[in-house]
Structures are given as structure tokens and as C-alpha cells.
């Protein structure tokens, strides 16, 4: 699995940074430690403002979902949020089957996700 957490963007209308973590490949139990570390680092850099781009993920299992849940909790504990985007059909089906699509904020693309984070930020 490829993990890219280098990208940092500025939220629209603010000076605050948001981390974009791009994932690609198969997201299962073997990848969880690496992804968890990447999400934690991203949240630590940006006070919990994280976008996870799942556009390249073609498979996710329950361990992968649980890893994203932990990432979301970590961000929310810091008063911010982790937003998912670019879900491909096989991944979207798993989110719907588990109803976690209603627990996460899910955007269509990275830009929409950062806008959503900015809107949330202005509400707090």
C-alpha cells in the first residue's frame, strides 16, 4: 500500500493547515500500523485537521475501517475532524454495509473536504 502524508494545504478562508493523507492499494490488517502512524503524525501537525484521500484504495477490511475510526476519534479529541474523500465503489459499499458512512464526514474530492473542514472550523 502507498501512503502519502506529505501534502499540506491551507483551509479556504483561514491560515490554518490541513494534512492530506493519500492512500492507495489494499487497506487491511497488515497496513494498519503504517496508516495509523501516518494519520497520527498528520493530526499532530495540524491540530487534528486531516483529509484522508481514499481514491487509490481498492479494498478495505474491518481492520482498515477500525483504523480510520481511531483516526477520526484522535482528531475529534483535538477539537477538529478527519474527513474522507474520493471513495471508490468497493470501498463505499463497505462503508454503507457497516453504516460508518453516517459516522464519518465524506466528501467527493480533496477540495470539498478542505472546504468542509474550514466550515466546521468556523463553527467551533
Amino acid at each position: 500500500m502507498q501512503i502519502n502524508l506529505q501534502q499540506l494545504e491551507t483551509m479556504p478562508g483561514t491560515e490554518q493547515a490541513v494534512a492530506v493523507v493519500g492512500l492507495a492499494g489494499r487497506f487491511d490488517a497488515h497496513e494498519v500500523p503504517h496508516v495509523r502512524q501516518a494519520l497520527t503524525q498528520a493530526a499532530d501537525r495540524t491540530e487534528g485537521r486531516v483529509v484522508v484521500d481514499l481514491g487509490g484504495v481498492n479494498f478495505i477490511d474491518s481492520s482498515g475501517l477500525a483504523c480510520l475510526v481511531q483516526g477520526m476519534k484522535y482528531c475529534r479529541e483535538r477539537g477538529a475532524d478527519q474527513i474522507l474523500c474520493n471513495l471508490q465503489q468497493p470501498v463505499r459499499i463497505i462503508f454503507e454495509l457497516t453504516r460508518l458512512d453516517r459516522a464519518f464526514k465524506i466528501a467527493g474530492c480533496v477540495e470539498e473536504a478542505t472546504t468542509t473542514l474550514a466550515a466546521r472550523n468556523s463553527q467551533n
Partner: protein, 410 residues
């Protein structure tokens, strides 16, 4: 803004109560208490026999557990009593940890009890039912509910009505994807959610070696309905042919509430076969030893009524398993990464051959144990609990939003 801590009521069995799913509840509550989102757990278990009590020690950082025993297995008024207890405790949300025979071994109390989630939701509480089996996959004949085809048809009809009542809960969580498909297609339900069973233990990698002494073959559970040990004992007799090191068959657990006296009958019938040990009820603290000492865990099932907590436990302790070629277990094996030797249900020779594949081949035994341990690590129950908390938070938020919308402006 984070939600304030919420108070969750759980209708379930729980140790020292011996009803089915008590072990699942034990681990679920153990981890739930440690979650920061929880302010209080209100446990609504069945009433215990005289002299027994539910005990929860206070731990720093753990949510307190208040216990209100409010139903009894086989009683006909359980649903109303549960509803009253919920109203009295007034939690933010309610979880039912149940299966079709949770509230009674016979049809009427079992069915009446299953109306409890509907009544609780009608009383205004966000409700999730964790349903460990569904009517459509239970083999009613083999599970001991009926042998009469007409009665079976009637039971299935009423079972479907009860399922509709259960689906009146805000969410119905099931542990197998196939169950989601069945409930969505047959009942047109749109509130069914897949929630993994989860692994019970968070222990380090177990040893895959065996202690000195006889090679132990373990069957663990509540016996007498669809878990029957006769075939296993017949297979054990075949295995004790003098060509192997000493063996011991450990039958760990009690009668199913639906089959009182079953194990005593088995013990008498097979009294002449040596090296069989009946442990009776296994206290929670003795579970690790029972599993750790076993060379293989056998599932002497004639049918299944849901996913198997015992399989997950076998995985936790790195044990090889021997399973029947029947529905849900094979599905769990395939979907969750477990592996084992298989046998034809009801066939002692087939079962003996499957057990022999494990106990006569230490490399195979270790390989299966390692694979099952890795599979059990997939998702600890501590993380499954987080999924439920997210679902409850959503339900509570929806309920609060709906209430706010209805309130007249002041």
C-alpha cells in the same frame, strides 16, 4: 464540539449468569467501561439464582456499572419488565445483546421477550439490537426447537413477524454480511448494519506448544440443542486405539438452557469410555487455562445459529480447530481468515479423521493455531465497541435534533 458522556443501558446476559451470550457481554462491557464517551453503563441482565450477585469493581477512569436484574429466562413478562426498568433508569440509549432464544427455551416466552426492543423504542429510547442469529439461518429441527414440519412452518411464520418487530429498532446489528443481505432483501429493511464480532482478548502472542500430559481435545460451550457431544465421544473412542499418546476429551461448559439434563444423560450413557472430563461451568478466570491446555478445539455442531464466539476464543489462544461442514461456521472461516479441519456432521469416523489430522501432526496443529491467532487479531472487540458508540452518538443526535424541531419556539 464533542458530545457529553452518555448513559447506555444494555439488555443482556452476563457472568455469573450462565445464559447464552454472557461471555460476549462480559468482554463488551469490559471494554465499553474504558471508553471516554460513556458516563454510566446500566446493565439490565437476567435475575441470578439465590446467593449469586453481579459484581463490578470500581476502576479509575472506568465508567461505573449499575446493575438492575429485570428479567428471567422463560418468563412471559420479560418485555414489559425490561421496558419498565429502562424507563426507570432513563438512559440515553439502549443496546440489546440477544439471539432468538435469549428470553426463553420455549416458543411463547422466547417470542414475547423479543418484543422488548420494540417496546423500548416506542417508549422513546434510541435502540440498537445486536442480533447474533437470524431465523432464516437457524435449522429449527437440528437446533432442537421442533421436529414437526407443520410446527416448523408456523414457527417460521411467527419468527418472521418477530424479526419485523426486531427491525423496528433504530438499528439492527448483525455479525455476518449474509445476514445483512437476507434482512434487507426479505424484509426490505434499511436499518441493518454489519458490525464485526471482534476478538475477545488483547493478550500477546500465545505459545503454540502444548503442556506436558495427555493431548487434550476441547469442546466448549452450552450443549444439548445444536451443540451435541455424542458424535465427538464416538470419535474420541475411535481415536483411543492405542496407537497414540494418552488423550483426554474435555467437555467444558453446561447444558443449554433449552436442554436441561443433557450432559448428565451423556455422562451416564458413555460412562464406560475413559479419559473424558466434564468441567461444568467454566468461570471466566479459568477460560485461559482451559483453552491454553488444549491441542485442538472441536465444534461438535449439528447446525449453527450464528457466528461463533468460541471460534474467536480459539483464535485468541492460537488453537487449531475442527469444524463441521455447515453454514455459518464455514462462512465465518472464509470471511474472517480462520482455518481448520472439517468433518461431516454426525459422522464419528469423519470427525475422528479430522481431529487426527491435527493431533498426529504438530506442524499442522501449530500452523492452524498461528493462522487462527492472526485472524483473531483482525479486530479486537475494543474497537468494535467504538463502532457501536458512533452509531449511538448518531442516533442520539438525530433524536435530539428531531425533539428540538418539534418543540414550540419560546
Amino acid at each position: 464540539m464533542p458530545m457529553p458522556k452518555f448513559r447506555l443501558a444494555i439488555v443482556t446476559t452476563h457472568p455469573p449468569g450462565k445464559g447464552s451470550l454472557n461471555e460476549y457481554a462480559y468482554h463488551f462491557v469490559r471494554f465499553l467501561r474504558q471508553k471516554g464517551e460513556i458516563g454510566e453503563i446500566i446493565l439490565l441482565p437476567d435475575e441470578l439464582p439465590p446467593g449469586q450477585t453481579y459484581r463490578f469493581e470500581a476502576h479509575p477512569g472506568h465508567a461505573p456499572v449499575r446493575v438492575i436484574p429485570c428479567w428471567s429466562f422463560g418468563a412471559k413478562d420479560n418485555a414489559w419488565r425490561i421496558r419498565s426498568a429502562v424507563r426507570q433508569a432513563d438512559p440515553d440509549a439502549v443496546l440489546f445483546n440477544i439471539q432468538f432464544a435469549s428470553f426463553g427455551g420455549s416458543k411463547v416466552p422466547a417470542t414475547l421477550g423479543l418484543t422488548a426492543p420494540y417496546l423500548v423504542k416506542r417508549a422513546g429510547y434510541p435502540t440498537i439490537v445486536l442480533l447474533h442469529n437470524i431465523m432464516e439461518t437457524i435449522d429449527l429441527r437440528r437446533a432442537g426447537f421442533t421436529g414437526n414440519p407443520l410446527v416448523e412452518s408456523v414457527m417460521r411464520f411467527f419468527g418472521a413477524q418477530v424479526t419485523r418487530l426486531l427491525l423496528a429498532a433504530d438499528l439492527v446489528a448483525v455479525t455476518i454480511p449474509k445476514y445483512v443481505e437476507i434482512l434487507e432483501s426479505k424484509y426490505k429493511a434499511n436499518n441493518v448494519v454489519l458490525a464485526p464480532h471482534g476478538a475477545f482478548e488483547d493478550a500477546p502472542q500465545p505459545s503454540f506448544e502444548l503442556p506436558p500430559g495427555p493431548i487434550k481435545i476441547l469442546a466448549f460451550g452450552k450443549f444439548g440443542t445444536y451443540k451435541k457431544v455424542e458424535t465427538l465421544i464416538e470419535a474420541f473412542k475411535l481415536l483411543q486405539d492405542g496407537s497414540r499418546p494418552p488423550l483426554e476429551l474435555v467437555i467444558a461448559g453446561t447444558d443449554s438452557p433449552n436442554a436441561p439434563g443433557y450432559l448428565e444423560g451423556v455422562r451416564r450413557r458413555y460412562a464406560a469410555i475413559p479419559n473424558i472430563r466434564y468441567t461444568g461451568y467454566v468461570d471466566e478466570k479459568d477460560v485461559p487455562r482451559i483453552f491454553s491446555e488444549a491441542a485442538v478445539v472441536v465444534f461438535p455442531y449439528t447446525s449453527t445459529t450464528g457466528s461463533s464466539g468460541v471460534l474467536h476464543q480459539a483464535g485468541d489462544y492460537g488453537k487449531a480447530v475442527v469444524l463441521p461442514y455447515i453454514g455459518d461456521l464455514a462462512e465465518v472461516i472464509a470471511e474472517e481468515g480462520y482455518s481448520g479441519e472439517f468433518f461431516e456432521p454426525g459422522n464419528p469416523r469423519s470427525l475422528a479423521a479430522a481431529i487426527a489430522q491435527v493431533i498426529d501432526n504438530p506442524d499442522r496443529r501449530r500452523e492452524l493455531g498461528r493462522q487462527n491467532w492472526i485472524a483473531s487479531r483482525g479486530l479486537p472487540i475494543a474497537e468494535v465497541v467504538d463502532w457501536y458508540l458512533l452509531h449511538f452518538e448518531n442516533l442520539i443526535e438525530q433524536r435530539q435534533a428531531a425533539t428540538a424541531y418539534r418543540l414550540p419556539a419560546t
